[in-house]
Symmetry: C2
Subunit: 349 residues, 2 copies
DNA sequence: ATTAGCACTCCTTTAGGGAGAGTGCTACCT
DNA sequence: AGGTAGCACTCTCCCTAAAGGAGTGCTAAT
């Protein structure tokens, strides 16, 4: 009911028959990866219509931009809008079977992740395995995270490790390079100072007001405070230093026939290797309350115009992260949505 | 002069002419990626020999297993042994141009890495860019690293972060999950205890003797010490928790013609996604003193039989890491060796 | 020892010719 | 009017054949 609507241009309403035909085209194409002809459909459906009638319906659907054909005499293939209509109005809702649910549960209970990146790693691995798509799990955004305690640890003569314990149990650690040596005492003093002034605030608040809050202190321990101020963007950014997103499943996804094309494969590799695109993309979705679906061009990225994305937010303590899959548009939407949804709920516990 | 020799089966010595021909075959094939015929070679070289004579020489080389042809009537292609002979006995030594050296230097000086993984990331990125191959940089092995100081930080009610400061400025941090709460005081006591008993030892020593060293202490703080003992393999392993190796350059490497084959591409993706193979592989090389070259089947791994590997050790403080590239056997060996060698030296400073 | 010549092999490219699948249109049926 | 049957047409895909090209291996001559 918001920007999402931007994708649905007025399609008008379809007759029951048209819905049926579209349904079959999508579902057949999803499983067979080949364009669907009128004959096939006539036999397959329980509509009891001749191929010719089907063709008429198809022509209508094509006029509305829901299906197309790669060349004059090939079968029909859903367009982005076709998939969208299917997802919004035709598709059945499915749930994972009890077996699958239990399996996933047990996989999650198997190991209690101590650090956040272990959670990301296992969940992305599980997600990619069960979905057979590219799985992307983004670490929770720390912006709203409340700083519980900050610790400074001198790890070398010229390095200080800053450890931010965020309520909800996430730890962010950053190593800062210091120019002039600092005594352990002074460091402790600075630590106390920082805790006094920052504990209890969210990282977002800290980042915005850090300079102000440190104002008078600056005189005292000028150098080290200066360093903190200079690094404050990094220190208090909402992103972890390492492994902000975890991607898995390239291998399993490339088993699908669309990846027999080396060009396609290269695109995928570029995507995963850069990550920038993905990080940016997930940021743009982070507002959503439940499962978000983006199909083909709806993802505003040319490299992803042949893919679909299904994302769901999860909660980790009080923080929000995103879990998602990317795969060929030709994916089993009902099932994929069920998987992502279920896994997001599972992670939120 | 050791296991390396295993690859050189007695090839006998080649006449000057044979060396020349092999040289040209390798270098031509490296640049053109197509088999080399006798005609081409006759024109190209300054040997002033007719195609027929060249063919004789080629036949000899083939008998010795240095070259082969994909099918009866194709040009010649170097075999693994051919490359090996070329690398060992024919290949010129080259150096990077001053320009390139300066460029690399400036790239390294540009940013002083605070944490080790930043160093890995930048260096693997630089290496992949300049070599156009897959760059793999492994973090230094911590086994010989001397524990300078160990810090315990409670980061949540049920989590303790253990920070190991290794001499040479590497930091390894692990989050442990604790079952029953522990007071800050007790934690500090344990910290002091651990430092007393472990500081100054290498991680390898600690790992081996940890249980012994903790023996009497166990009674005192049974639970928490127990936890440390159970986790000691992880805590004191020679590998970092995250980002133990950093891989870059898939994208640039796949521009090469060998990767027009989707199967090949999948193999590569599998390799990079698993990393296990690579980690294991680099471990097996870590003894070397200088540049190590493995060609095709010399790498004992079927998935890598079409690739070559060039690796060099670097020193970080007192610790040894490995920096390497993997690419099609058809690579510019002299240049690649120069790059890897130079970069390893550069990193060691 | 080197070279010229020649037959032969094998790959690659090109062209052509069904076969198959599917469409779009028109005429016809109910 | 909606549904159906028929039919011509259009593509793709796959197979085959043929020509072209590159390169070898052998032999005989220099």
């Amino acid at each position: 009911m918001n920007e999402h609507d931007a994708h649905i241009e007025e399609t008008g309403s379809l007759s029951e028959r048209e819905r049926q035909v579209l349904l079959y085209i999508v579902e057949q194409f999803v499983t067979t990866a080949t364009p669907i002809g009128s004959r096939t459909l006539s036999k397959l459906t329980d509509l009891n219509l001749s191929p010719a009638s089907i063709r008429n319906v198809m022509a209508d659907l094509e006029e509305r931009g829901l299906i197309g054909h790669p060349h004059t005499s090939a079968g029909r293939v859903p367009t982005d809008r076709g998939y969208r209509y299917y997802v919004d109005s035709i598709m059945p809702q499915v749930q994972l079977s009890d077996n699958e649910q239990h399996f996933l549960q047990s996989r999650f209970e198997q190991e209690v992740p101590a650090a956040i990146h272990e959670l990301l790693r296992t969940s992305s691995h599980i997600l990619s395995r069960i979905s057979q798509q590219l799985a992307i799990v983004a670490a929770p955004s720390l912006g709203r995270g409340v700083l519980q305690r900050l610790e400074l640890v001198q790890v070398a003569t010229d390095k200080v490790m800053v450890i931010l314990s965020i309520r909800s149990g996430i730890v962010k650690s950053i190593v800062l390079h210091i120019r002039s040596e600092i005594s352990r005492q002074k460091l402790d003093q600075v630590g106390v100072l920082l805790n006094e002034r920052l504990a209890g605030l969210t990282l977002a608040e800290i980042r915005e007001t850090f300079v102000d809050r440190m104002r008078e202190a600056e005189a005292d321990e000028a150098e080290i405070i200066r360093l903190f101020i200079d690094s404050s963007d990094r220190l208090f950014s909402e992103r972890l230093e390492t492994d902000a997103v975890c991607i898995d499943g390239m291998m399993t996804m490339t088993a699908q026939p669309e990846f027999d094309d080396p060009g396609r494969m290269r695109g995928l590799i570029e995507l995963v290797e850069n990550q920038r695109v993905i990080v940016h993309l997930l940021d743009s979705l982070s507002g959503g309350q439940s499962v978000t679906i983006r199909i083909g061009r709806e993802i505003n990225d040319d490299t992803l115009s042949d893919y679909s994305l299904i994302a769901a937010p999860y909660r980790f303590g009080q923080l929000d992260g995103t879990l998602s899959i990317i795969g060929p548009k030709r994916m089993n939407y009902p099932r994929m949505i069920a998987i992502v949804d279920y896994l997001a709920r599972l992670m939120s516990t």
